[in-house]
């Protein structure tokens, strides 16, 4: 079994029941997740020896995080247990025309206080096939920016495949600050999840002609990036057409060797829970690449994984490789009996 490693924050999500506002509800459901934790979970369900590196408080909520990760098959050996609190956020579930609302309560979290010296990167990355981080992690402290840069360099030294997802969150930091944090990492990245806006705002690429079809604009940006960073062998993103909070249309994109591959359109309706949908996609991409799938297979697999994730509660993509492959073949919605 291949060892894979992701590093980031894991938070407690407290969600309202459908059709109740946060200011009204008397009941919240709990899910634990975070961009990189969710990728680790998917990769564990895909059969890898999956490690998640983070820092959580030494209290019952920290214990809950650990039990959650273990239940999904993720190793918790590299979880540090100290600091003030677990990052939390409240999700007022959206429906139809009404958007979901996030109320963050993540400041002062244990993870945001993580110091470079607390981790033994050599031990963590030893024998690893893949190392993945997303841009949220960089937003949390300058020390974390330093840590992630160090880790990516170390990973390249050790021959580990590296993956980075821009994952910009406007509620956490500004575009300028983000751009400065992202750029130094790029020379050390093999696989990069990057959308149109990321290309314009963080890489400073001149905006494409908006009259062009969306896939042509994306190709334009991806060509530009591959020329500037020839180390980046895979560029990925999704087109998500938000019909409503309950209905999205999803297409996956993968750019490799100068060619853009696209998945079929998944018509996701109703949406049970879209949190983690992007992470399921990212994990699908990583799995396809590690397993040497053909580009079209990779993007079909990853987008199918993401579509399935939208049909279950929680951040986790709890589907096996076989189930996802079968899903890409089945007629939609046929009962199996």
């Amino acid at each position: 079994m291949r060892k894979v490693v992701t590093l980031g924050e894991i938070m407690m999500r407290l969600s309202t029941p459908t059709g109740e506002r946060l200011s009204q509800t008397k009941q919240l459901s709990i899910h634990y997740g975070g961009a990189e934790a969710n990728v680790a979970v998917s990769l564990a369900h895909f059969g890898y020896d999956s490690y998640f590196v983070s820092k959580i408080p030494s209290n019952p909520l920290g214990k809950a995080v650990e039990m959650h990760l273990n239940s999904q098959g993720v190793h918790s050996n590299f979880l540090l247990k100290s600091g003030e609190r677990l990052g939390t956020y409240y999700l007022e579930t959206g429906i139809g025309e009404r958007s979901p609302q996030v109320v963050y309560d993540r400041k002062y979290s244990s993870f945001s206080s993580l110091k470079v010296k607390e981790l033994n990167l050599d031990e963590i990355l030893q024998g690893t096939s893949l190392f993945h981080v997303s841009g949220i992690t960089l937003a949390l402290s300058s020390e974390l920016r330093e840590l992630v840069l160090l880790a990516f360099k170390k990973a390249k030294d050790l021959g580990v495949v590296t993956s980075f997802d821009f994952n910009y969150r406007a509620k956490l930091w500004g575009q300028q600050e983000a751009a400065e944090a992202f750029k130094p990492l790029l020379p050390f990245i093999d696989i990069c999840s990057c959308g149109e806006l990321d290309a314009v705002y963080f890489l400073g690429i001149e905006q494409a002609d908006q009259a062009l079809p969306q896939e042509d604009r994306l190709s334009y940006y991806y060509h530009f990036i591959s020329e500037k960073y020839p180390n980046i062998k895979y560029l990925t993103s999704t087109f998500r057409k938000v019909i409503s909070s309950s209905n999205n249309k999803l297409i996956g994109n993968l750019f490799v060797d100068g060619v853009l591959y696209q998945s079929k359109v998944h018509d996701i309706e109703p949406i049970v829970d879209r949190v983690g949908g992007g992470d399921a996609f990212a994990a699908g991409i990583l799995y396809g690449i590690l397993e040497g799938f053909q580009p079209q297979e990779i993007i079909s697999f990853a987008t199918a994984a993401s579509a399935l994730k939208h049909t279950v509660h929680g951040d986790c993509n709890v589907f096996s490789v076989d189930e996802i492959l079968q899903f890409t073949k089945n007629e939609t919605g046929k009962i199996v009996r």
Copy 2:
């Protein structure tokens, strides 16, 4: 803060869980509401000093009504507490092609026994900006018809803006009886919620050519009404296209100074709870008028308020002015984080 007053019945609604019939279910959820109470709730959330006038029994269910109104910011000073029982009704929740079913159990209610002499209309209407009643109230007793007529007259004497919603319920009374109750009120009304059928059945206007577009037919009726009752400065209604119990398309109409203004089409799917949707619309209209919005702003605001109401359980429109305004601008269904 402006004082606003509504008068009517508030009932206990007992709803089945989705997908269960009333004859099967072992569990009912409770909501308290009524046309005028719901308008008072919306206006309280919009920041007004909102008073609801009614009569409820002096028992735990009456107490529940009072706590409900208070929680939404509505003043309960003018709630009389006596009489036999709280009006109740059972709602078998509809879904898809299956319609919701209402089983009324509202006879002998405290409110239906309300006497004119029990209320001090002078005190109630003193310093009030707006007074609103709906046609359901008139259906409940002849004494209530007398009371409402008195109240509207008193309101006009005191310079209060008056609003009336036809709100005809065929299960409560006949068209003939309703028409006789409605007509005497109209000379005292500033804002009138009135649909096509109301115009034909209760105002005796000759039916428009059904081949005309729906908005032209409505304009025809509204012109007719404004000529007959020049005191009515605002005429409003909604076009609700019922695709199914789970999907309605909603357009708001506002007729002012001889011009019909329409909102965009809201595609409401899925519908969480449509009870109170009309009252949210009414309250939005009243707010826009009181605040001096432009006609197009008024109708956009009111229809957005109604659309949002459909996304939450219960009769109450628990959205602030800011939230509704932002909703009219947002891309539908985009997660905010």
Copy 3:
């Protein structure tokens, strides 16, 4: 009241909450049902003296089955109580693009051990208007195949109307074995529920030209069958277009006297629970025939019954004849108040 009889297995269904996988959930909801039991339930709600013949264990789960049937108005006089266990199955509820999954745990059930000699067919069929069995029953043991053949013969001797639904389940047996079991029954059948695939696989009819419209292909098969088995006076089936697990389009077909009658298209969205939808259709057909409805009325009634079934949890069609007839007339989704 007319006496009607069905014979088959009734199982406990354990379903996951929406949006949870079977491997994750901590809660399962219980429904009791089976193809023939569900038909008996519908017929009881339609006002018949409905009897269900089966064998269940003499334990609390058997007691639960009996209480379930009684609550729906089905007589439990012909329920044998012995054997090892109640057949059970787990349903991972599907949603959107994700299909429902069935995990059967029905082997060694009391019903599958039913012996011919345990039943007194004379008593059971005495004074009966209708006898109905589905193909699932035949899949469970060779003894059951023998029993069903005997019962159909006896029914014909006694002048009972006979009904058979192919209802093939690939998880239970092979096509070959099924074909051999089905064929001997057909000369004794008056009403037969049979789809395109049934015609090809079990009756060995040459496949129709796939370029033909679906209804023409069906007519072709039905003509063929009626010629071969002139005793079969009614042939029925549904066209179910599976848009997703949450959205099906349903058309009912009835072939009588060489003419194919079709219902309107029911757009079923969202689907609450499709289990039992086919049985509700079958029962609707049987009712229409027994009551001497016109063919177009029969197929409209049966398809409406099936569409309504999809809007409630559980296998049972808990709607009365009046409710179904009103549903065929109502505007979809209009609130009744």
Copy 4:
């Protein structure tokens, strides 16, 4: 199977979740029950052909009542379906020191409008072994008092065993009125459930010396009654020591042939739902008498039945004769595996 008949009102009970007040709760659970309906349910579970005579509205709540009775094995043939509404009541569940609170909303019910001429008592009582009514029924109208008297007379004419339970409810009528309604019935009663207070208030027996042990006082009253009404062969009651809403100690009393038989003390803690506990006791007495049990067996069986009822939600005693007999023998609380 012996036919048994009870006559009375059945209501919808709406109960709060434990630890929530009626004025706070958003959820109510539904149970259907009434003194005589509950007795009919017990007798059905004991294996009798049990009929319940009543009048319910012709609406979904009436349908729910019928399905409830059927599910428990009670025949609904003698249920009239008309009138204004189903009697309802709200139960604020008590716990510990806090008492349960009942809010009645039963006026204007279908049953309270029942007329003598609506029932065919001959048909109802034909071939019946037992006829049972409780005092609540008499409280609801003078017509019902007339009906019950007629029914008891008719029953005696037909050789039916008659049973009456005083079951006085102070919220429904005064002691004086009750006494006048009860007395004319007594000459026609074989089995009478009657407590100390009943004896004093309704039969006008001089109060016993309060210094005497409770069982001696009861014997005094029972001797007095048996002398006055020698037709009453069985007198029964329970001593219920209310430690708290969650803990009662229960003793059953049976007086026959001048001897008082008592059950052991059942220490009921915690109490799940005490509604229907008295009816379970009554049904246990009736069963024991009909089956010719010895007096000590009767009172043990009936009190055990009542104790078991307290351990399940709802008004119904859903235990078989075997289960109750085994319960009287088992060590309390031992797991059976």
Copy 5:
């Protein structure tokens, strides 16, 4: 109606379902409360014009707090809306021998950042009958200590009755620090809630002979305090004998004019929710004093209020004065119907 004012922090409590640990649960129930907020709620239910002074964030959780207070009849005029976050805490519900566990997550709360200059104490205390604060408030910042001292001084200047509850929480601060904060307040206090340990640790009174009965020890301390602080006219506390998390025995103590009055023992079993039990007691004391009850009546009323609070979920004592008085008279646990 008398105006009463309390000042303190209100937090969101997130509680586990009974029998689930915080590290396991997928569901949390929400209650809002805090020592002083809970007192304000009780006083509102007792009929006072009750104001709660605090600072909450301007977000949906702050909105929820306001709706909660309003629903209980508490005025929210003096709620400031700014700062970083709402204080939260997690309660792992205890049962039987297992203690409840609190995980605090209240640092950096809006209230803890409250500045003296943000409040207009003159306006707040104007026309007020009573002002109440508990020791928890002092633990949160030195600025809050300053504020509370100022407020008590101002209150005395304005002739307001003052009440202070030591309410020491070891997880928030040390005994030394607390003692230094408490002492300067005492000369301005009329009513003081103070237990044995408070007397020893914070007032430095020499420990009483432990061999003495508990009430004698308490009298000893109270005599001591009244001599030192003759302004303190009422001293109160409870004896809570913790049999288990599900069973407490509670006695209330009130010391006035040199005499110790005690309530009867309330045997609280099972305990639904003990959070807020002390605040209900405090509010009962305050009500009794303001209304001029006799000392024995005061302590009976207050302890009954506290006992009732233990029977409902949430921090709030949702009982009226009448209900509490009736409770002190009723036989425990008798059903009222």
Copy 6:
């Protein structure tokens, strides 16, 4: 970290909500557990490297078992995945005087078909500190009896500490058969959980004088056993006094070096879930012995662990060593804040 191994069956438990019978309920909660699996879970929570050896079906229920074990920190490496079905059982939850009822549906399970040759005992037991099996495993097949004997012999060869719990279940096999299966194992056992009845029925020891105190009778049996099997260094059991299904009193016994050590009496009320209580005790004993606790510490720790288990739902003792040790010191039921 020490490696520990247990071997046995793990089943799905489907439990009714409190106060509902199995024949009534519409909802079941799921727990996974088995005697040896539960011991493995406890030992994982105590910090050991815990392995559970079993055989489960290769379907979603098997997947659920694996996720359950992983979430509790148990290694699933030695789980075989094949066979027909997962053993299940239904638990009708008892309360008060009413006993819990178990309905087994465990025949034909994957585990019961386990063959000796399917396991590599050398690999499994390599480097192991402890190996534990209970008597239930022996009841399931003769092959399993053979396997367990082989495993215990191998364990002794490898110097592994061995533990056996008689755990006799009358519903699974007869006493005679059990005795024959148990005896050959005893020479290879270090730690034996054995009660009075076990000693009499399975070891054929003459019954002690019933007039003796219970602990003296137990000592008599234990002396006898230690003489006969000097290899058994530790004998353990509990005295469980079943007051009711909701209240048990529990004492733990440990016999070592000829001395009987007893824990204090734990008064467990209310009982949340007693399933797994014995396994928690067993695991506590094993931990204490492996860690070299003093005998009195061992028995206090183990009984405390068992008492805590009764306060949570599910079979698992989800408490850490620190929590259990603190529980043995804390005052019962005190809130920690």
